[in-house]
Symmetry: C2
Subunit: 234 residues, 2 copies
């Protein structure tokens, strides 16, 4: 599962760990070669309490010693998304809308830049050489900040915007995978997906019908595996 | 001083208004053509209370109705800078170090990305077409995120990372100016620089000896004008 190099001697990587399935598998991938520093953002999302528990439990399981939770709840003040603005309802999944390429109401304007900026600042302060993020282009509900070109642009920004001697690169190892492939990769690595949390709407059990639950359940079905977490629709 | 177009009909611009002299002059420039939405970040800087007062007073004077203060104090947790980490002392200005191109201890790793990400999210939520920032390359203490290439890279990131129909561009109108030129431009526009605050160390009066005070005082001397704010060294 991991290299034979002692963890303390490995290069350091900051991993964005929301507590969702994708970030859980990403953390397991990073932990194979790097000493992981796990970063979690509270950005005022409805299900933060449950996500935070998932973050801590996944980090415990992966023996992550360096952790930071950043309070980015100002993102909820900025509004414009159903994930943070309680005046906008989280809709049920709509496969037709997803296929149209339309950007859904759960999109938080420019959200990933806030996470990546925190990761880049922390990486520079810690001396980490990598930032891992569990972004997925396909099945990603059409969010514009989940595409490879976005990460190329962010890497360029880090290159020009940090100290000359700083070398930090973003890795998005899942970017080209389908959700079913991510589940397979997680199973190979024994990533603790049973501790992860994806629902946009509820805290426990998961609603089973929002965009995020629907994608997750469809992916488990496609991978021929049973999702180990609990759903209202079970 | 401004176009004859009524303010309510003008395009909207988000202006990053720290409360310092550069952002004050930048806001006055933006207010000539745009309806201004002023954004201020509390990032755990030592002199935030004084800066916030400068932000509010400048915004009042420029009749800015749309204002947002974001709590980005997690930046102080990330540390690595004398501006946010109270364990690192703010040094007196050292012209030799500035000329060496060395990056000073007051540098907050990747700081401007946090401000610009907040500005871009807010601009997208408000429908603003511009983001103004008072970055200055020359006299900027060698911070890597105060160079034109950094803003080109950030504009590219906004282009790829927002909704397809979103058009937001960063303007850094002072980027090529000297501090003395900024003072002249501020005087032409009657920018309320007497309400601005630049000191890294104290709340009132300004210390007069930190990097930021030293640059400001030297610039006023060069412009042949008297700095209207109070200094301990007066």
């Amino acid at each position: 599962m991991s290299t034979s190099q002692p963890i303390a001697d490995r290069p350091l990587a900051v991993v964005l760990l929301s507590g969702g399935m994708d970030s859980c598998v990403t953390a397991a991938i990073a932990a194979q070669q790097y000493r992981v520093a796990a970063l979690h953002s509270d950005y005022g999302q409805r299900t933060e309490r449950r996500e935070r528990r998932a973050f801590e439990e996944i980090a415990d399981r992966l023996a992550v010693e360096i952790r930071l939770v950043v309070d980015q709840r100002y993102m909820a003040q900025i509004g414009g998304s159903a994930l943070t603005d309680r005046a906008i309802e989280v809709p049920d999944a709509d496969p037709a809308a997803a296929e149209s390429g339309e950007i859904p109401v759960t999109y938080v304007p420019f959200r990933n830049a806030h996470f990546l900026s925190a990761a880049a600042s922390w990486a520079e302060a810690l001396g980490a050489s990598k930032i891992f993020i569990g972004a997925v282009e396909q099945d990603s509900s059409g969010y514009p900040d989940c595409r490879p070109g976005y990460y190329r642009a962010f890497n360029e920004l880090i290159e020009v915007g940090t100290r000359p001697e700083t070398r930090i690169e973003i890795e998005a190892p899942l970017i080209g995978m389908s959700k079913a492939e991510i589940i397979e990769r997680g199973a190979e690595l024994q990533a603790p997906v049973e501790l992860s949390w994806s629902c946009y709407r509820d805290e426990d059990p998961a609603c089973g019908t929002c965009d995020s639950c629907a994608l997750r359940l469809a992916a488990f079905a496609k991978a021929g595996r049973r999702d180990p977490i609990r759903y209202k629709t079970d």
